[in-house]
C-alpha cells in the first residue's frame, strides 16, 4: 500500500505587543508586513484608549492585505486600583486585548484578580517595581491573566542591567510555572529593526531558562488562546461562558 506523506501542521505564531508610531501610517504598514514576512499569523497592536474605531479598522484592512490578523490592544497604566476598575468598565468592550502595566503593588494585585485583564506587564528597568511574586501568581492563577514578558529590553540592555533583568525573569518564570500562570512572550518594540522571528523570540527566552516547548507555547498557543477567548466574548452571539446564540428565527420562539 502506498504511504501518504502528510505535512506536519505549521504552528501559528503571535506577537501581542507591537507599539508602532500610529501617526506614521507608512511605517506602521511596513511593520505589519514585516511581521507577516517573519512568520507571525497574528499581531497585537497597542492603541491609545481614545483612538478612533475607524483608524483601527483602517489598520485591520492594511493587515488583511499583508495576510496577517490584527488584534487591538490597550495598555493601561493606572495609579490606583479604582482607576483601573474605571478604565476597565470603559474599555473592555472596545479592545480585544487589555494589558496592565503594574507600577504599584495595589494595582498589580487588583489586576491579577480581575478576570477582565489579559496580560500583566511589569516595568523592565525599575526592578523594585516587578511585583510578580507568589501572592500575585496565586491571584493570577485563579483569574485569566497571563504574565507578559517583553523581549525588547533583552535586546537593548547590556551588562549589569541585562544581568539583573535576566535574574528577575528567571525568578518570575519559576513562580509563574509553579502556579500555572501562562507566560506570553512579546516583542514590545516600536522599531522595525528590532523585530525578530517567533523562534528567535523563543530562543531568547532560553536566557532565563524557559524550556523550548514552553517558550514556543508562549509565542503561539498562549497568546492565540487569549485572542480567541476575547473575540468570542466580544461577539454579538456571546451570552455567557459556554452559552452562545446559534440561530435567530421564528423556529426558536
Amino acid at each position: 500500500m502506498q504511504k501518504i506523506w502528510v505535512a506536519p501542521m505549521r504552528k501559528a505564531y503571535a506577537d501581542l505587543h507591537l507599539c508602532p508610531n500610529l501617526r506614521d501610517l507608512e511605517k506602521t504598514s511596513q511593520m505589519i508586513s514585516e511581521a507577516s514576512r517573519l512568520g507571525y499569523r497574528l499581531i497585537g497592536v497597542t492603541f491609545p484608549p481614545n483612538f478612533a474605531d475607524e483608524e483601527i479598522q483602517r489598520l485591520r484592512n492594511v493587515s488583511r492585505e499583508a495576510k496577517i490578523d490584527l488584534a487591538s490592544r490597550v495598555d493601561l497604566k493606572p495609579r490606583t486600583p479604582s482607576e483601573l476598575i474605571h478604565n476597565l468598565r470603559k474599555l473592555r468592550r472596545r479592545f480585544e486585548i487589555i494589558a496592565v502595566l503594574c507600577e504599584s503593588k495595589s494595582v498589580a494585585r487588583q489586576a491579577a484578580k480581575d478576570r477582565r485583564i489579559d496580560l500583566l506587564n511589569f516595568p523592565s528597568l525599575d526592578f523594585r517595581k516587578r511585583f510578580f511574586d507568589k501572592a500575585e501568581a496565586e491571584l493570577a492563577s485563579n483569574s485569566l491573566a497571563s504574565l507578559e514578558i517583553d523581549m525588547k529590553p533583552l535586546l537593548t540592555l547590556e551588562g549589569p542591567a541585562r544581568i539583573k533583568l535576566l535574574s528577575n525573569l528567571r525568578r518570575e518564570k519559576e513562580i509563574a510555572q509553579s502556579f500555572h500562570v501562562p507566560i506570553v512572550i512579546s516583542s514590545g518594540i516600536s522599531d522595525k529593526a528590532l523585530m525578530r522571528k517567533p523562534k528567535e523570540l523563543a530562543a531568547l527566552a532560553s536566557l532565563f531558562d524557559l524550556d523550548e516547548s514552553s517558550a514556543l507555547e508562549a509565542v503561539s498557543k498562549n497568546p492565540l488562546t487569549i485572542v480567541k477567548r476575547n473575540r468570542e466574548k466580544l461577539s454579538s452571539k456571546f451570552v455567557a461562558p459556554g452559552i452562545r446564540i446559534i440561530r435567530r428565527g421564528k423556529d426558536c420562539e
Binding site: L155, T156, E200, L204
Partner: protein
C-alpha cells in the same frame, strides 16, 4: 570517538549598510561571548563558510549541540559595526548541499 555532528545555518542580514565578513563574524562572536562567555563560545565550533554582501546572505557552520545557543546569540545582534542590523536564520541543514537546496532563492 563519536562522529562530530554539525549544522549549517543560512543567515539573512538586514542592515542599511553591509560591512565586510570580518566585522560580521566578529559581531556574532561578541554576541556569543556576551551571553555565554568564553567557555560557552568554545563549545559552538562556529565557522563562517560563505558571506555574500550583494545578496545580504551568509552561511555559518556550528556544532549540532550549539544551534540553539547560536540562534539566541544571533537574535541578540542589534548592530553590525555602527549600523543597526538584524540577523535572521533562514534555514538549518546537516549538509551544505541540503542548505543550498532549501535556500535556492538566495543562491
Amino acid at each position: 570517538m563519536n562522529k562530530v555532528r554539525r549544522r549549517y545555518l543560512a543567515l539573512e542580514i538586514k542592515a542599511a549598510k553591509m560591512t565586510d565578513s570580518k566585522e560580521f563574524i566578529n559581531t556574532v562572536w561578541s554576541a556569543i561571548l556576551k551571553l555565554y562567555g568564553e567557555y560557552g563560545a568554545s563549545r559552538t565550533g562556529l565557522t563562517l563558510i560563505n558571506y555574500d554582501i550583494a545578496k545580504r546572505f551568509a552561511v555559518i557552520r556550528t556544532l549540532h549541540s550549539a544551534v540553539e545557543m547560536i540562534r539566541t546569540a544571533l537574535a541578540s545582534v542589534t548592530r553590525i559595526g555602527d549600523e543597526p542590523a538584524a540577523v535572521h536564520i533562514v534555514a538549518v541543514s546537516g549538509t551544505l548541499k541540503g542548505l543550498y537546496e532549501k535556500t535556492k532563492q538566495y543562491c
